[in-house]
């Protein structure tokens, strides 16, 4: 049972960047800097929440920080058409170094910062639901927000013109441009939406799920999201499936440790699962085709 809550709790952290990343990928811009954006967002969430003793301000700062990072990415990768991997990874290094420096110069500490002045994003208690208490009660409001966003994204993805333009920008931007829709604008939109989502997930990490900042606390979650995005290849359902599967395998790994499995082995689970899924996917589709040399 607890594995369910555990999965939900941490899933948010990769689901939001995976959703955002899915859209930027649809426009042809794989965003490698999710890890870095998440980290700066986490830092500035603590900053805003601490300074103003308000989680709203924390969220606000987190989103702004993530926007700035994503705008740099957009400037380089959309306008200058620079290599997404170089810029993405450079931004990840920047985020790590910058937050360590800021931690030292703003809070005067090294490594981590926590304080009672940090206001946490509230949890949602729905009253007594009987046997459903464990299923619905006491999740962070961000969890609910994420659920709403997933539904909203699904709708936008397949039922609006914006969803259509996203894919058009990725598949043939010249065609979109010649149809009078600026592909650059569409790309910017997707990147900015992604920035907001990653900002929220960063804030959730530091002031939603936890109430502290620790250097490098994103701990590879941005990368997992990127992997899920590549795996999903712009497809909504597959992206979500990959993300959820990953979150579940992760929680399962943690759970199995308690039964005495070696942690270094259980931690391989999610990765092995994705490898297996990839190979399955590949073998299956190549059987379907079964032609071409």
């Amino acid at each position: 049972m607890y594995i369910y809550r555990s999965t939900i709790n941490t899933l948010v952290l990769i689901l939001l960047p995976a959703l955002g990343g899915m859209w930027t990928l649809q426009t042809g811009m794989l965003n490698i800097s999710q890890e870095g954006s998440m980290l700066v967002a986490a830092f500035f969430a603590v900053f805003g929440s601490y300074i103003f003793s308000s989680f709203w301000m924390g969220l606000f700062f987190a989103i702004i920080a993530s926007l700035v990072f994503n705008l740099i990415y957009a400037l380089f990768c959309v306008n200058l058409r620079a290599n997404i991997w170089v810029i993405g990874m450079a931004l990840n290094i920047l985020a790590s170094s910058l937050t360590i420096l800021l931690l030292k110069s703003i809070f005067g500490v090294k490594g981590s910062f926590t304080s009672d002045r940090i206001q946490q994003i509230p949890f949602v208690h729905l009253g007594n639901l009987g046997i459903f208490n464990g299923v619905f009660n006491d999740f962070s409001s961000i969890v609910w927000l994420t659920l709403i966003l997933v539904i909203l994204f699904k709708y936008i993805d397949s039922h609006t013109t914006f969803g259509l333009h996203l894919k058009a920008a990725g598949k043939n931007w010249r065609a979109l441009d010649s149809a009078g829709v600026s592909s650059i604008k569409v790309r910017y939109m997707s990147i900015l939406i992604n920035a907001v989502l990653v900002g929220i997930s960063g804030a959730y990490l530091s002031i939603g799920y936890l109430k502290l900042f620790n250097k490098d606390m994103s701990a590879g979650r941005g990368w997992i999201a990127v992997a899920a995005v590549i795996f999903g290849n712009g497809n909504f359902t597959w992206t979500i499936i990959a993300t959820v599967a990953f979150g579940f395998m992760d929680a399962l790994g943690i759970s199995l440790q308690t039964y005495g499995l070696n942690s270094n082995l259980t931690m391989m689970f999610p990765y092995l699962a994705i490898v297996a899924a990839l190979i399955y996917q590949g073998v299956k589709s190549s059987k379907e085709k079964a032609i071409e040399e």
Partner: protein
């Protein structure tokens, strides 16, 4: 008829190249106006200026007597200008209706009203008598149908000035005829059409007036009825153009024997079914047929780019069915592919890198320890550029920036430089100007004269009739008609191409 478009000494330069050189041109409302000229003359650039894709360096453009200053196609679309590009601007994975309405979709609150989109597009198609299923995925359509989608896009946006940049280059004669009917319908509806083509017969057939460009300059505009095809050709090339005289040569031994060949196509169903064909030295065999009847699969299978499911390919007496591409090339097969951008070239690579491909294993360029003789390669590339008069700044220029005709010359130069025994030539003059066509045709005939075998695949029946000794017609993966050129019956060939037996 009143004037609808006016170019006033419009100039556009790309670096040192003056693509469009102080052009004055007036287009009248409701006419079909052709623009012709050799490769690289500046036709496409001129139209891109009108469509807002480039801004003129100097000069003015007027639309409906109003000076315009488009900064993107969006502005041009607002002014009811539409363009069908030389390379289609379609999204292959989208459906027909999605492609058509893209950028101007009907809404239902915030959602995309797909039903309304489908209805509108279907209605539009019916209005212009275009038979097309709006729910099809565009990538799976034939080129002719894809072009209809492009045209629907313009109509959907109410374009009244329609630009067509070499629309017939990739069409079958039948499809071209359908297109012309549509163009005439446009004219009847009072729309203005600008038509660019290298096929002078078509220009004669469809135009009201013709403008000729050379070297970026507009030579003059003529009434169509005042000119003959030969006059047009002369003006384009600046000299007399002659159809190459038929070359006779001795037919030698049979070099290629295709026996009961079956090939599975991309869709998983047989694209070529039990096809048999022989080609001999000193002979040109022409394969006629509507595009998409298995020709692409056949040519790819012959060079080893595609597996064969059944049957036998014998070349110089050896079964080559399982040989690698490289082995086949070394064994004496040359290939000019139908799609030069996708297969025949690496557009981002330089001219040098492009002409070396396929030659890289030859002694001349490759030494021991995998060493590649780049100096030699450069010399070779320069030689080809001179011999084939490829217009480029240097052999280090990206092939993708050359004009279409010159790109084709790069492919031809490279393949002809091989000492081959069999040359498979597919759509060799697609998008090439009259001068270029003359040159390429002459080269192909030279091949034959020197005792090589040539398998010519073309959707241009005139080309086939002109060059081939023997003609076979492919329909749905099979040879349905076969004749020597001198006994050819056009009627029969035409019917065979459509799958009808006479």
């Amino acid at each position: 008829m009143s004037e609808i478009i006016r170019f006033n000494s419009v100039t556009k330069k790309f670096g040192k190249v003056v693509a469009v050189n102080s052009v004055d041109l007036s287009i009248k409302s409701g006419e079909i106006h052709s623009v012709i000229g050799e490769n690289g003359a500046g036709k496409t650039t001129l139209m891109h200026l009108l469509y807002g894709m480039y801004k003129p360096d100097s000069g003015k453009i007027f639309v409906r007597a109003k000076e315009v200053n488009f900064s993107s196609p969006k502005d041009a679309i607002k002014d009811e200008i539409g363009m069908v590009h030389q390379n289609f601007m379609l999204i292959d994975d989208f459906t027909v209706y999605e492609n058509v309405v893209l950028g101007a979709e009907p809404h239902h609150f915030i959602s995309f009203d797909r039903e309304k989109a489908k209805r509108t597009v279907a209605k539009l198609a019916k209005e212009y008598k275009m038979e097309i299923d709006v729910n099809e995925i565009v990538g799976s359509l034939s080129v002719g149908l894809q072009q209809k989608v492009e045209i629907l896009k313009l109509l959907y946006r109410n374009a009244s000035i329609l630009i067509f940049d070499e629309p017939t280059a990739v069409l079958t004669p039948q499809e071209s005829e359908t297109l012309f009917n549509t163009l005439r319908k446009f004219k009847a509806f009072g729309k203005t059409v600008i038509f660019i083509s290298h096929k002078l017969k078509e220009v004669k057939e469809i135009s009201d007036r013709v403008s000729v460009m050379r070297n970026g300059k507009l030579l003059d505009t003529f009434k169509n009825e005042n000119l003959s095809e030969i006059d047009l050709a002369k003006m384009i090339a600046g000299r007399e153009i002659q159809n190459p005289a038929a070359v006779s040569s001795k037919k030698g031994e049979t070099i290629l024997k295709i026996n009961d060949l079956t090939i599975i196509g991309d869709k998983g169903i047989p694209a070529v079914k039990g096809l048999s064909l022989d080609v001999s030295r000193g002979e040109i065999v022409g394969i006629a047929g509507v595009v998409g009847n298995g020709q692409s699969e056949l040519e790819e299978a012959l060079v080893g780019m595609r597996k064969i499911a059944n049957g036998k390919i014998e070349f110089k007496g050896v079964d080559i069915g399982k040989m690698s591409v490289r082995k086949r090339r070394e064994f004496g097969i040359g290939y000019i592919p139908e799609d030069r951008i996708r297969t025949g070239l690496a557009p981002i690579a330089s001219v040098l890198e492009n002409v070396i491909m396929g030659h890289q294993n030859e002694r001349e360029f490759s030494a021991r320890l995998d060493f590649m003789k780049r100096k030699r390669a450069r010399y070779f590339a320069n030689q080809l550029v001179n011999e084939y008069r490829i217009v480029c700044k240097s052999v280090d220029e990206q092939v993708g920036t050359l004009s279409g005709g010159n790109m084709q010359k790069v492919v031809i130069a490279r393949e002809f430089a091989h000492d081959v025994d069999l040359l498979i030539v597919s759509q060799p003059t697609r998008g090439v100007d009259v001068g270029g066509i003359e040159f390429i045709h002459k080269k192909i005939l030279d091949m034959k004269k020197s005792g090589k075998a040539v398998l010519l695949i073309s959707s241009d029946l005139d080309e086939i009739l002109l060059l081939s000794d023997r003609i076979v017609v492919m329909y749905e993966g099979q040879i349905v008609h076969s004749t020597s050129t001198k006994d050819a019956d056009l009627q029969k060939i035409g019917l065979a191409m459509l799958g009808m037996r006479s």
